[in-house]
Symmetry: C2
Subunit: 399 residues, 2 copies
Amino acid sequence: MKNVLQENVEIILPENGLEQKFKQAEEENRKLIIKLGFDPTAPDLHLGHAVVLKKLKQFQDLGHQIIIVVGSFTARIGDPTGKNKARKPLSIEDVQHNAETYINQLSKVIDVNKTKIVFNSEWLDALSFSEVIQLMSKVTVAQLMHRNDFNKRFTENTPIAMHELVYPILQGFDSVKIACDIEMGGTDQLFNCTMGRQLQEVHQMSPQIVMCMPLLKGLDGKEKMSKSLNNIIGLTDEPNEMFGKTMSIPDSLIDEFIDLTTDFQNEEKKNLKQRIKNGENPMNIKKLIAKNIITQYHDGESAEKAEQFFVNQFQNKIFEEKSFEPVSIDLLHLNQQTTTLLELCHRLKKDESKTFMRKLIESGGIQINNIKKNNPNEEIELVPETKIKIGKRSFFELI
Amino acid sequence: MKNVLQENVEIILPENGLEQKFKQAEEENRKLIIKLGFDPTAPDLHLGHAVVLKKLKQFQDLGHQIIIVVGSFTARIGDPTGKNKARKPLSIEDVQHNAETYINQLSKVIDVNKTKIVFNSEWLDALSFSEVIQLMSKVTVAQLMHRNDFNKRFTENTPIAMHELVYPILQGFDSVKIACDIEMGGTDQLFNCTMGRQLQEVHQMSPQIVMCMPLLKGLDGKEKMSKSLNNIIGLTDEPNEMFGKTMSIPDSLIDEFIDLTTDFQNEEKKNLKQRIKNGENPMNIKKLIAKNIITQYHDGESAEKAEQFFVNQFQNKIFEEKSFEPVSIDLLHLNQQTTTLLELCHRLKKDESKTFMRKLIESGGIQINNIKKNNPNEEIELVPETKIKIGKRSFFELI
């Protein structure tokens, strides 16, 4: 049972902490309290979040108590410097609304009826300034500056406003207030989660375990999945969208997707990975992954329909001649509705130089929707189903 | 008039700021508000503090408003890390009591009836946590780390607790709350005073001028005068004590004392410095300084009596043979009532090695109260009037 709980986990701090917590809870005849923080400014959940949520679900299935701590205190302050336009101060109603949206999405993975939702403004609003000073005195500047991004910004002379240093302390204090046993997050939350350990110790509590899940890569196969990078599969995406996006992931991501996004049994996971190693067309495996994901967040019937849609829409028509690689327009990062032929080809084939691409265009090596194009500066409309042939072997279709 | 105000000032920030402030006050037909911060944990004033107070007095005499900001907020918190035992949390009564002691001592230099006394807990206690966050967001970590001592501690890995970074921001906020025009302090307050400028600008106020007075050196002639270094002349010291201590300053301090501790006219100051240059016995000048100081903090008659006492007690008896140099027992930093002969001689003649001193003792070169002593390990009682002769030319008397 504990083996399953440690599956896919990237960091457990301290290493043997989980066993001890289970023992402690057993002795005290109580549930473990598992915390997940939620920033109510961004309620759109994607498969990256689900990696963490599925781990929470495992604990929930064992009867433990999940507490979602809504970061209402900081959300209501927003970005006091005014520089980060995305962090406007939210009203109580905004926070409430976003929390509801979030809980609604959470229900796709965990049982929200058994989940406790708390708002940290409940205790942070009530702190007096002298209590804040007491809290801050427990943490040193050097500790905070060890956090990767602070360290980098400090070294590079990128301003860090003082209040930013306070936020990790608050996240730690949340753990004190809910008497957290295990704080869960992505690996990017490791530092903030260890603050909780420190502050609990100061408050004479047994320090929480920190469990960090790996950060799922986004559709580009490079950066972590993140709404601001436009590379996500959202938990509320429509089945057809989920299918197409999954088909568009680079082959290098397949193993990671098998592990972190599907709910196949372990034997099946191994088997799928082996089939790729054995030289099977990766598209077959991606289809299985896509159907599995849709079955989780919608249902099996929707999954079958989405596959059919994909096959009719793209594969039957296009792949009869060649395998066209579906490319999400979002992923081209062009942020406009048209672009030059040269720019489009360059985005699709990043490994080639622009000079090479220009020559290829001028020599007649490019076709758009079966029509040869040889003016690198021609404006091309970025619409779905546009088919691009680059050279003899590269075929793309915008989706 | 403005020349007088700039006399002895070590730093004015910005350089031409004083003139502008005077102009502004004139146009708005109002008094200037001059701020001095007071830490109510340490109410004992000494000549070092008086350097700043005398400057305040000059502004007061011109009709401007002095506001003493009592740091009651931080004093009541104390040192939340518990490491600094000297900074225990003070009760409201403690703060009140210390403030009264302080005001009493202030009256030796400024007119306390025309002085406004405010307690910063009045506005800091009332700050909500989210207001604190707003305030902190106006200041960057890098700025704070530029403060000399923070920078040094950070570089040397000496822990800085987070709340320490907040205190300069609070001092700045005090300036906002009292609409300060000029903040006064020693040069060690330069950084904290500039925080006031920054926060006033953020609050759409004309930023205060910062005026820093030099830090008077203590009786040891090396470190700044400070109670914790045991090298002070207190404003409430008895006349005889003031006289003796002043006579004990090293000759290298005489010019500084003339400038910063006496109220001689400028011509007279120049004249005294010249007399020393001309080769006059520095003791004559020290006596004049001592009498001037006592006249300021007690009265002329006490000054005469103190001189008489000193002459009878030490000079007539001892200096008939040789000039004994009075040495304050405190300054030996022995913190005990006896010490070995070797240690005592070593403290009195720091420039000589212990090896040399041991040989000198063993060869009979030392006398205590006219009795030859040649055991370096003999315990000597540290009592006033003990006379020590080291070699042929060095004569000390403990006071």
